[in-house]
Amino acid sequence: MRAKVYVTLKPSVLDPQGKAIQHSVEQLGYGGIEDIRQGKYFEIELDESVKEEDARATAERMAREVLSNPVIEDFRVEVER
């Protein structure tokens, strides 16, 4: 089983890296871009014996305690078999 954790900056937090990337992409000629924000992505492989709801709870706890900084970041968890 795999838990996927997406960590993104809170909407209220400025993302200078995302802005720089957006600028570069636009320099290449890509149009119609409203915003680019950079985040982090984690893949957590879990033992087959772990139940899906436990996997989600564990991944959420890990995301809250370690993978994200709640002062500036939000996270989202997906679990797949």
Binding site: V13, L14, P16, A20, V66, N69, V71, I72
Partner: protein
């Protein structure tokens, strides 16, 4: 009085801090490896600058889980003095000993230069030998020094006189141009509510001898020495 300088894997300003305490403060100091947990006998613990754990995940995020940090929390709760410089400040924020977070600099660059900071509060054990409004020249060297916090936290920091240093120009004006990293309210250093835990991005330990361009950082260490001598 005894000082401890914590060494995390990747700390690189540990020897600078040690040098300043032994040479300029003239007090006993020893290194504390991050796996140690006994802080008995120390009066002040310094979390030095550097790149603990290679800044993996977020600056300071992994150092928070080093065994010594549990002891640092207990030490701080018991009133011990804790000084976090640069990466040490980042670790204190990640550990929840100070509020807010240090994000990537506004301009994205690693900034290594002498900056000016204004002393905003002398009501701490780390700044009581300085003068309010005094402008100090102290170097910074960081890519993640952009202090951020929510409005409620900022309001508390301001109301409780916990913003200790602000970036400023030579005349002491905290302008946007004088803010090297985009920090909210030009914050360069803050303390906790009990005023015994202090974090700052500039490096006072790198500004203690004229040969290095400035000796303005001595004020922080003299304040500490004075505080501890009086205790």
């Amino acid at each position: 009085m005894k000082f401890g300088v914590v060494i995390f894997p990747g700390s690189n300003c540990d020897h600078d801090a040690y040098h300043v305490i032994s040479k300029h403060v003239g007090q006993p100091v020893s290194f504390v490896w991050h796996k140690e947990t006994d802080l008995a006998g120390f009066d002040c613990v310094i979390l030095p600058g550097g790149f603990s754990y290679g800044d993996y995940l977020r600056a300071g995020a992994l150092a928070r889980f080093s065994p010594v940090m549990r002891s640092v929390k207990e030490f701080a709760a018991a009133g011990g003095l804790v000084l976090g410089i640069c990466n040490g400040f980042q670790i204190l924020c990640e550990a929840g000993l100070l509020p807010g977070a240090l994000m990537r600099n506004r301009g994205l660059h690693f900034v290594c230069e002498h900056v000016r900071v204004r002393v905003e509060s002398t009501d701490t054990p780390f700044t009581n030998e300085l003068r309010r409004g005094e402008v100090l020249s102290i170097p910074i060297a960081h890519a993640e020094g952009n202090y951020t916090c929510d409005d409620a936290t900022l309001g508390e920091l301001q109301a409780e006189d916990r913003i200790i240093f602000r970036y400023c120009d030579a005349e002491g004006r905290a302008t946007d141009e004088a803010n090297p990293n985009g920090s909210r309210d030009s914050i360069a250093g803050i303390c906790n509510r009990a005023r015994n835990v202090f974090g700052m991005m500039p490096h006072p330990e790198r500004a203690c001898e004229d040969l290095l361009g400035s000796a303005d950082g001595r004020g922080v260490f003299h304040s500490l020495a004075t505080t501890l001598a009086a205790a």
